[in-house]
């Protein structure tokens, strides 16, 4: 199936697919969604992708003991005014180890808002490990907004692990990101969030992580850059009901006339919980700019280098 150049650009950006205009299937299981419809779906022996009724999402069944397989489920919207809510449920079997590449891009050259609300629920069985990569991106000169509201819900069974890379590249006018997780015994969650806002964009990132299992651990690291007149809100609550360890860190660079609000919270329900939070909001460091300029970069190049490195 042919893609428009914009759709192809979206998949290349959010899911690392080839840049040509023809749909090229990646290895492993996949479902590519364009303007509310699947344009290509493939299951493997171990990964079964089943559409939900009314095209409102997918159930993705990953067999126990599946090792080193990949699932691609990216979404592209190029139709102005399209609004969709999609539910994708991942059922990950015991001892499985898989990488899931999601992400959504919106190209909007029209006057109406385009909206994608993606709700991803993960049921990670005992001893399973997942790596989840989700990138969001928007472009197009239309007056209509490019709006993405992802919800990520994780249920981690005993000894399971989840590693999340959540990235908003640029061009998303409005986003509310909700991430909720509960961890059982010895479960481990690592979240790496990267967020860039510019223009008059708004972004809200909300985390609610509960360490319910003994010796469970969570590490949340959020870095963001707010440029122009954009505004960001970061809210996190890290709760522990058992002997466990949690660390959260939000670090923001604020530029121009932007605004950043950080509201981290820790909630220990037992004296055996070890919870740490670090937060910092600051402008571009003048010593970093000066250092890179002494190496021959212009001020603009130095700013770009610092931001790109920070969001890496």
């Amino acid at each position: 199936m042919n893609l428009t150049p914009e759709e192809s650009h979206i998949f290349c950006t959010v899911a690392n697919t080839p840049t040509d205009n023809n749909f090229t299937a990646p290895a492993g299981a996949y479902n590519f969604r364009v303007n509310g419809k699947s344009i290509g779906r493939h299951s493997t022996k171990n990964i079964n992708i089943v559409p939900k009724p009314d095209n409102q999402g997918l159930d993705i069944f990953i067999a126990p003991n599946t090792k080193n397989e990949t699932v691609h489920i990216p979404v592209a919207i190029s139709a102005t005014g399209l609004k969709e809510t999609v539910y994708n449920d991942f059922h990950i079997g015991e001892n499985a180890k898989v990488t899931i590449i999601a992400g959504c891009g919106i190209y909007n050259c029209g006057g109406a808002d385009s909206v994608h609300d993606g709700i991803h629920r993960f049921y990670v069985a005992k001893n399973a490990k997942i790596k989840y990569i989700e990138k969001h991106y928007g472009f197009g000169q239309g007056r209509g907004g490019k709006i993405l509201n992802p919800t990520t819900e994780l249920h981690l069974a005993d000894n399971s692990e989840a590693y999340l890379e959540l990235e908003q590249i640029k061009g998303v006018d409005s986003t509310i990101r909700n991430t909720v997780a509960d961890l059982s015994q010895n479960a481990k969650l690592i979240v790496k969030e990267r967020l860039m806002t510019h223009g008059r964009q708004t972004a809200e990132s909300i985390y609610d992580i509960t360490l319910n299992g003994r010796n469970s651990t969570a590490d949340l690291a959020s870095r963001s850059v707010a440029q122009d007149y954009s505004s960001q809100t970061f809210k996190s609550i890290l709760s522990a009901t058992q002997k466990s360890r949690g660390h959260s860190e939000c670090d923001a660079i604020i530029m121009d006339h932007a605004k950043v609000l950080a509201m981290p919270a820790l909630d220990a329900k037992t004296k055996d919980a070890e919870l740490i939070h670090e937060a910092a909001i600051g402008k571009l460091a003048s010593d970093q700019l000066a250092k890179l300029m002494t190496l021959g970069l212009t001020r603009k190049q130095a700013e770009s280098q610092i931001i790109n490195g920070f969001l890496k």
Binding site: Q288, A290, M293, T294, G296, L297, R299, G309
Partner: protein, 232 residues
């Protein structure tokens, strides 16, 4: 040649404070000059003014006859001035290899970058992929800072602001040997080193002694060290 003409630098405090007062000096090409003096004498400010990190309140700076007083840091860097910071700068998300490539202006091979690290006593396999962040010790950061200056192949004037500060794991002897080697192998390069260390003073072609923002004296190491009574 770098020439300073009547450089002054003042800051506003409770009363107006002169950090540098009418500094004039010509740094000859290919020389190793050490600027020394007590704390607060204006040494680091002078180095920063030459690099363009601070702007003089009065006076002019000439590089090979061209007035660079109003040039920004980048322009001076491209003209061949290089600067090692007293307090090394940390970067989230930037690796040592990437920093060296920026300094070089193009991609080094890992071997080339590794050879530069070896010059400052760091093992390439251990450090090239490291992020330049707070996980590195002060001494490691300092050596990486010096390496970034060595990576600038087109630099003609190398300024080191208190290079010995924080070099706790690497001997002064290695540091002074490195400066001597650069000086010996690159007669086209000039070095200005801000330092208190006698070992570094002794390898200079010329020493400038600053005191209260003025040049108190200048001369060869033998002349200056004799004057300040540090040669036993």
């Amino acid at each position: 040649m770098l020439e300073l003409k009547n450089i002054s630098f003042t800051v506003k405090g409770g009363s107006r404070t002169k950090i540098l007062d009418q500094i004039s000096f010509a740094f000859q090409p290919g020389t190793l000059t050490v600027v020394t003096g007590p704390n607060g004498s204006g040494k680091s400010t002078l180095a920063q003014i030459i690099m363009g990190i601070k702007n003089p309140t009065k006076g002019q700076i000439f590089l090979n006859g061209k007035d660079i007083t109003k040039d920004d840091i980048t322009t001076r860097a491209k003209a061949g001035i290089s600067f090692s910071f007293q307090q090394p700068v940390k970067f989230k998300g930037l690796t040592v290899y990437e920093l060296l490539n920026i300094a070089n202006g193009e991609l080094f091979s890992p071997e080339e970058a590794g050879n530069i690290l070896k010059q400052v006593g760091l093992e390439p396999t251990e450090y090239l992929s490291r992020e330049i962040n707070q996980k590195l010790s002060g001494g490691e950061l300092k050596r990486i800072e010096i390496a970034s200056v060595l990576a600038r192949k087109d630099a003609k004037l190398l300024i080191f602001d208190e290079p010995e500060a924080g070099i706790d794991l690497w001997s002064f002897q290695d540091l002074t040997k490195l400066f001597q080697k650069i000086h010996r192998q690159h007669p086209d390069k000039s070095l200005i080193i801000i330092s208190h260390q006698e070992k570094i003073l002794k390898i200079a072609d010329e020493i400038i002694v600053l005191e209260k923002g003025q040049i108190k004296s200048h001369g060869t190491p033998a002349e200056i060290l004799a004057k300040i009574g540090e040669i036993k």
